[in-house]
């Protein structure tokens, strides 16, 4: 039995479709009305749980799930001690620094950066040697420069439409993001064959 932590939402659904196609189906999970949290298919020796996307890595790192699907943004932000076995090539977006087009950085003082990803922002600016002041927010990051709470934001950009509607532009790209297939390090040892089998099945079906 291999347990899989799936992120709730569209990404989880896309990954489930790949896994179902590879022979790991569990039809119960498609029932939108169900309140169940754990779905098991004994015949296909697989068990799924749906968890908050930011929690997937925690479940896998602590071994509650053998494998899981997590965005590269989450892996970069929290650096969980897990194996990153495969880039699934879905859920693609970019981690960017965005701000007003007319903004010019004033190096006299620290740059104020609003973000949900303080660790990513910190290490990006450390590498280019720019002192910053991090403003950690949990949502509506685009609001921060508009209200002059921050100079720029460090956030995920998918289509860029939210930025455009708020007159913001991408100024720098920090990293390319996509969904990753991750595994617990001890499970990788004791359920090696099963995990590699699932990895190969996903690898054959991914679109890169």
């Amino acid at each position: 039995m291999i347990s899989v932590a799936l992120p709730k939402g569209r990404l989880g659904e896309e990954v489930y479709a790949l896994l179902a196609d590879a022979g790991y189906s569990c039809d119960e999970i498609l029932d939108k009305k169900t309140r169940k949290l754990v779905f098991e298919n004994k015949e296909h020796t697989v068990r799924y749980f749906q968890v908050k996307p930011t929690d997937v890595a925690v479940y896998v790192e602590r071994g509650a799930a053998d494998v899981g699907i997590a965005g590269k943004d989450i892996l970069m932000e929290y650096s969980p001690d897990v194996y990153e076995l495969l880039d699934l090539g879905i859920g693609k977006c970019r981690m960017c620094i965005a701000g007003f087009a007319e903004f010019t950085d004033n190096t006299d003082r620290p740059l104020r950066v609003a973000t949900k990803f303080p660790h990513i922002a910190r290490s990006y600016y450390e590498e280019i040697g720019r002192d910053i002041d991090i403003i950690k927010l949990h949502g509506s990051i685009e609001l921060a420069p508009i209200l002059k709470l921050s100079d720029v934001i460090c956030d995920i950009v998918e289509t860029g439409s939210t930025l455009r509607e708020n007159n913001l532009v991408v100024r720098e790209e920090v990293a390319k993001i996509s969904a990753r297939f991750i595994a617990n390090k001890v499970s990788f040892r004791f359920a090696n064959e099963e995990i590699l089998k699932m990895k190969n099945a996903l690898e054959n079906r991914r679109v890169i």
Partner: protein, 357 residues
């Protein structure tokens, strides 16, 4: 038998001496070797003579400090480290072998690590990597510091896609990319892994290390543990202190590593000790925390009594039952709330009948 007792018996059985130590150490020892510790945060305090002391966050450094001649030691002590923004007292057991560490000694210590894992659970795996091999490999690849950091990270995370992307951007030569891809993917029985690598490695230092490792495999076979040992280049470790084999152990029912160790000649040199050294630590706290919490019974037998019962008779009865080897206790009737779990619950009368008193 508790795990601590089992480990002590195991290590003593191979002629290792128990190392006992106080909880205090001079602060300077840690200030000089900050990088060796996982965290630089220590519990410090001033001694009555004004010198600065710390509660030990680590046993290895204290052992090395006090070493003046070759010795083989084991310990079962408490260390004090930060965890989740608070200091914790953490039990740790381990083995250190200091002196001339030849192939036999190296195999002996790694085998002890295997046998220690078997004390925790029979289904265990010990993964071995080699810090010197990885260092030589990085020199051979001749990458910029930035990229060698990324490559090491990719090896640790078995991130084969990243290595492939470096090869496709021509940052890695094609054959180097293929080799790294293989190393990242690698998780194979030790002997088999070395045989397959020998055919692929071309740089001299790497070849030399592989031939040492295949001799090591023979020693591990001699100790009867080779079947549990795997070659795996995803182990994280400080390259500054470890210079030879590094290893980590895990058991099936615990989802994180429970043991880690390696060859640390570089640390010995840094501390100006003219010896080689290898050792490992068992994370007793991880093992303890993952033990199943549902204890079946508080004891074998509860004898229910009231204030009216004769205390002398009760004492005699409990004494007789306890000396027959039962875990037994007398419980006042009004305090018996059913929360306590006893295999059997008897009234005083029933118990007297059973004990023949």
């Amino acid at each position: 038998m508790s795990l601590e007792t089992k480990l002590n018996k195991l290590f003593a059985g191979y002629g290792y001496q128990k190392f006992r130590t106080s909880k205090f150490e001079e602060y300077d020892l840690y200030a000089e070797n900050r990088d060796f510790l996982m965290s630089s945060q220590l519990i410090t305090f001033t001694d009555l003579d004004g010198s600065l002391l710390a509660l030990k966050p680590d046993i290895t450094l204290s052992i090395i400090k006090s070493t003046t001649q070759p010795r083989r030691l084991y310990y079962n002590e408490k260390v004090y480290r930060p965890r989740d923004h608070h200091f914790r007292e953490i039990p740790q057991a381990g083995v250190e072998c200091i002196g001339s560490v030849d192939l036999y000694r190296e195999g002996e210590v790694i085998s002890l690590a295997c046998k220690a894992l078997a004390c925790i659970e029979e289904d265990y795996v010990l993964s071995i990597s080699h810090a010197g091999f990885l260092k030589a490999l990085m020199e051979h690849l001749n990458l910029s510091e930035k990229y060698s950091g990324f490559v090491m990270e990719a090896l640790c995370g078995k991130n084969t896609d990243y290595i492939r992307s470096l090869a496709s951007e021509n940052i890695l030569k094609e054959e180097d990319g293929e080799l790294l891809f293989n190393l990242a993917e690698m998780y194979v029985p030790f002997g088999e892994g070395i045989r397959s690598l020998k055919k692929r490695i071309s740089f001299a230092e790497g070849k030399e290390i592989l031939s040492e490792l295949s001799d090591l495999a023979a020693v591990l076979d001699g100790f009867g543990v080779l079947d549990h040992v795997y070659l795996d280049f995803s182990l994280k470790s400080s390259m500054e202190y470890y210079n030879g084999v590094i290893f980590q152990g895990s058991v099936r029912s615990i989802p994180t590593y429970v043991l880690s160790g390696g060859r640390y000649d570089s640390l010995m040199k840094k501390m100006a000790k003219p010896f080689e050294a290898i050792g490992f630590a068992v994370y007793m706290d991880v093992v303890e925390n993952s033990r199943s919490t549902s204890k079946n019974y508080d004891g074998d037998l509860a004898v229910i009594y009231t204030a009216k019962d004769n205390p002398k008779l009760l004492a005699k009865l409990i004494q007789a039952l306890a000396s027959s080897g039962l875990r037994v206790n007398a419980v006042r009737k009004e305090e018996f709330d059913g929360n306590e779990r006893w295999k059997r619950v008897l009234t005083l009368k029933e118990a007297r009948k059973e004990a023949g008193i």
